[in-house]
């Protein structure tokens, strides 16, 4: 009976060989497919279970991964969540990622190509993979000042460093706490998300760059002014500024806010027209210049551009082939003009930086877990929409707006602030949007800013942009000046 026992042991060997080949097939050959299978929750756990790098503002982590005793190993933690939500976004097991958490995901997760050598080093030293830290260009002081100044108003504040394009502050209101969506309980996250979605004022919307675009109102007169200066106008060039301007090909008549007169003799300099924000003068100027000139200037300032800072920015829009009446309306920032607050901050920054517009960006540096520099952002020029001389002229005109025009409430003692207000009608019975666009100090700007307060204006006059939005801007500018003086 020994022979069959030997054969039986061969059969047993064959059986085990079959098992071994099956195991090899599963664990090596088809492992890739199985690991990519969407039903494989391990992939999710692996991604969400690695140490994710922090998001840093002014050298301090505002978002980091806290080691916790849960299947995910780490809890994404948001210090000052609502303050930075518009920039950091959230990191949710149910709804994925948004904003920086999304755009810089590969770096934060540690899977980016640029981290290859870091990963190799970790492999050699046996350390676990750790994500890189992303340092933002934001300034904590300016961001806090902007959020505090905006308060409960619905709107947004964007502040740029005109010399580099660094985004110093990006605040949207109302906001939310990303921690609500970062919980590890799907049910809790779902409930919180539905609640946020249900709120009418849309706390999840980043009004600064990706909300509805807004009619820029009188702040658009900066573009028309820039186009006029390029066309040969000067600050003291006289414009036709009637009390009422009949619009061509229509029975409509364009007046000024509150029916006020721009001047006694229907003549006004370009600087004065900007200072008191005279609608009839700019509407007439726009028709004289022609839409093509204005459109080109607006595009040089960024209209129509799909920006990625690296958050995706909704392109600001312009009307297509407007007739003369529409051109008149568009020249004062109404009709089909639309802009994001970031776009208007870029207008201010371009003028502030001697006519050179720098591309806005949010990510300053990326460092791996051992603090080695992986990426360092270099300021990039976006365009040169104005000559230095024209930019300086327009700057002086904007200083006039703050010193003795529609934006006196943006004045700061001892500092020359340049600005322009706007009150944009929304076409409905709702109250208009209030704008302030500006920069300071005028001779050596450290901050360019755009403030939008949704439905924050009243219909009683141009002064509303100055009354609602300008004080907010002033607080933010003061914070920037304090920081610059201290740092």
């Amino acid at each position: 009976m020994n022979e069959p026992v030997r054969r039986l042991s061969v059969v047993v060997l064959v059986m085990f060989l079959a098992l071994m080949s099956a195991a090899s097939y599963i664990q090596v050959i088809s492992a890739g497919d199985l690991n990519q299978d969407p039903r494989n929750v391990r992939t999710l756990y692996r991604e969400y279970g690695t140490f994710r790098g922090p998001i840093v503002v002014d050298g301090e982590s505002v978002v980091w991964s806290q080691s916790v005793d849960s299947p995910f190993n780490f809890q994404r933690t948001y210090a000052d969540g609502p303050l930075y939500a518009s920039v950091t976004g959230y990191y949710s097991i149910v709804f994925g990622r948004t904003a920086i958490e999304q755009t810089e995901n590969e770096l934060l997760a540690g899977t980016a190509d640029s981290l290859f050598w870091t990963r190799l080093g970790n492999l050699a030293s046996g350390e676990t993979q750790r994500g890189a830290s992303v340092e933002l260009t934001l300034s904590a002081a300016i961001q806090e000042a902007a959020a505090a100044a905006l308060g409960d108003n619905t709107g947004a504040v964007v502040a740029l460093d005109p010399a580099t394009g660094e985004v110093l502050a990006m605040v949207t209101s109302p906001t939310y706490d990303p921690a609500l969506l970062a919980s590890h309980s799907s049910a809790e996250v779902n409930a919180n998300y539905q609640e946020l979605l249900a709120q009418e004022d849309g706390p999840l919307v980043n009004r600064a760059i990706a909300g509805d675009t807004y009619p820029p109102g009188s702040t658009f007169k900066l573009i028309v002014s820039a186009a006029a200066l390029e066309a040969g106008y000067e600050a003291d060039s006289e414009l036709y500024a009637p009390d009422e301007l009949p619009l061509p090909q229509s029975s409509n008549v364009l007046g000024n806010y509150g029916g006020a007169a721009c001047s006694d003799d229907e003549r006004q300099t370009l600087a004065d027209a900007l200072r008191i924000s005279c609608n009839t003068a700019f509407a007439n100027l726009g028709m004289t210049l022609g839409w093509g000139v204005i459109e080109r200037k607006a595009k040089e300032f960024g209209w129509g551009e799909q920006l990625s800072i690296p958050l995706a920015v909704t392109p600001s829009r312009l009307p297509e082939n407007p007739d003369r009446a529409q051109t008149a309306m568009a020249s004062i920032g109404q009709y089909d003009d639309r802009a994001t607050p970031l776009q208007m901050a870029m207008v201010a920054a371009g003028i502030a930086n001697d006519g050179v517009l720098m591309s806005p960006y949010l990510v300053d540096q990326v460092r791996d877990a051992s603090l080695r520099l992986i990426e360092d952002s270099e300021p990039e020029e976006f365009s040169s929409p104005m000559t230095t001389a024209d930019a300086n002229t327009l700057t002086e005109m904007m200083v006039g707006v703050v010193e003795s025009g529609s934006a006196t409430s943006a004045q700061i003692p001892g500092v020359r602030v340049a600005g322009k207000t706007g009150t944009a009608e929304t076409g409905t019975d709702e109250r208009p949007h209030a704008w302030f666009v500006g920069f300071a100090p005028a001779e050596d700007p450290v901050i360019a800013i755009a403030v939008l307060v949704e439905n924050g204006g009243s219909t009683d006059g141009e002064i509303t942009g100055g009354r609602v939005a300008a004080p907010i801007a002033r607080s933010v500018i003061e914070a920037a000046l304090t920081e610059r003086a201290g740092g």
Binding site: M1, V5, F16, S24, A31, V41
Partner: protein, 392 residues
């Protein structure tokens, strides 16, 4: 524990195979570590389990039982006297779960009995009883079964009237599959019988007839009974989204995901997520091990089994009595086939069944029964290797 065992074997079975015990202990240890680790994983998810502690108790009991076997059974040949007693015991064990009151159905399979609040799988013990019965029966009747019968295509086929025992076991196996809904046990019993029949008669024809009968029966059962059929579907189309969504292959596929994430070298102890697979501590402990120890670890574990089985086979060759040969070969093959059925089920070589992995998986019955097998093998090998003059 291993030291005590070692000395016990040295003292009372000094010529026993020296490789068997360490290999079994290694497997038992790996299993304990894995189960304890899965306890922690469950605890993380708020599910308090103490599989690890319980398993340690079972392991100790099992080892004690093995020593008891070695101690009490000074000569394995005594077992031959109990051939038919064992046969009856085996049948009773097999049928027990079908009895009212004590029979319990868990997860669709009716293979448990509940005694004193503990569920046991009598089939695990019935397995040993059947091996003893087969060995005793076959050693007495091998000549009839081997020599008589018509010759077809150069092979001598058994006479129909000698087919009785085979048919009986076939019926029993089919009953298990249908009434207890347990393909694994049925395949295990039938496989052991056919293998031992082959060893006893040296006739390949028995194997062919036996496998043909089982295949026919299995296909028939698959078509006639939906619960058997769904097992087959889950096996063949495990990754099919529809089958997966229906839940039929969910456990299997999750096990595959686990093993795949382990890859070549595994995630390392405590680094994987074996708790994502249902029954990670018992039926799917192999996928848990595959995940955390990788293909490398799984290969090592399978190799340990190969060593155990091959030592059993070596014992069978070395032993001088026909009964001992059959017993050792049968017990060794029982372990091999059981591993094949479980691991094959998890790795999609064969349809998934509910057997436990010997020595590794959580489960008292299996642990005790397999340690008894080890005790028997140690006793047989001791007698096989003992020098002639001492044995006299």
């Amino acid at each position: 524990m291993s030291l005590v065992l070692h000395f016990a074997v040295r003292r009372w079975a000094s010529f026993a195979d020296p490789v068997l015990l360490p290999a079994v202990l290694a497997l038992n240890g790996i299993g304990l570590a894995m189960i304890r680790r899965i306890d922690f994983a469950y605890a993380d998810r708020g599910r308090d389990t103490s599989f690890g502690e319980v398993q340690i108790v079972w392991s100790l009991l099992g080892a004690a039982l093995a020593v008891a076997v070695i101690l009490l059974l000074r000569d394995y040949r005594l077992l031959r006297r109990f051939t038919y007693t064992a046969g009856v015991l085996g049948l009773v064990g097999l049928v027990l779960p079908l009895m009212p009151v004590i029979g319990t159905q868990i997860n669709g399979a009716r293979i448990w009995i509940t005694v004193f609040g503990r569920s046991l799988q009598p089939a695990e013990f019935a397995k040993i009883a059947f091996v003893i019965f087969f060995a005793g029966y076959l050693v007495s009747n091998r000549d009839t079964l081997a020599l008589a019968g018509p010759k077809v295509l150069g092979m001598r086929f058994p006479r129909p009237r000698d087919m009785g025992p085979l048919a009986l076991v076939w019926v029993a196996a089919m009953m298990v599959q249908i009434y207890e809904r347990d393909l694994g046990t049925s395949l295990l019993l039938f496989g052991i019988f056919v293998a031992m029949l082959y060893v006893a008669t040296e006739r390949l024809s028995w194997v062919i007839v036996g496998m043909g009968m089982f295949a026919a029966g299995a296909v028939l059962a698959g078509t006639l009974f939906s619960h058997v059929g769904s097992r087959y579907t889950a096996w063949l189309h495990a990754l099919d989204p529809e089958v997966y969504r229906s839940g039929a292959s969910e456990q299997l596929v999750r096990g595959l995901f686990g093993m795949a994430s382990g890859g070549l070298f595994g995630t390392g102890w405590g680094e994987g997520r074996p708790d994502l697979v249902p029954y990670a501590e018992s039926d799917f402990i192999v996928s848990s091990l595959g995940e955390e120890l990788g293909l490398t670890g799984l290969m090592a574990i399978l190799t340990l089994y190969v060593i155990i089985v091959q030592r059993a086979m070596r014992t069978a060759i070395g032993v001088r009595h026909g009964f001992g040969k059959l017993l050792a070969a049968g017990l060794g093959f029982a372990i091999a086939l059981q591993v094949f059925i479980v691991v094959g089920g998890v790795t999609r070589v064969i349809p998934l069944t509910g057997l436990t992995t010997p020595f590794l998986a959580y489960g008292g019955s299996s642990m005790l029964a397999n340690w008894v097998i080890v005790g028997l093998l140690l006793r047989i090998s001791d007698q096989a290797r003992r020098p002639e003059e001492v044995r006299a």
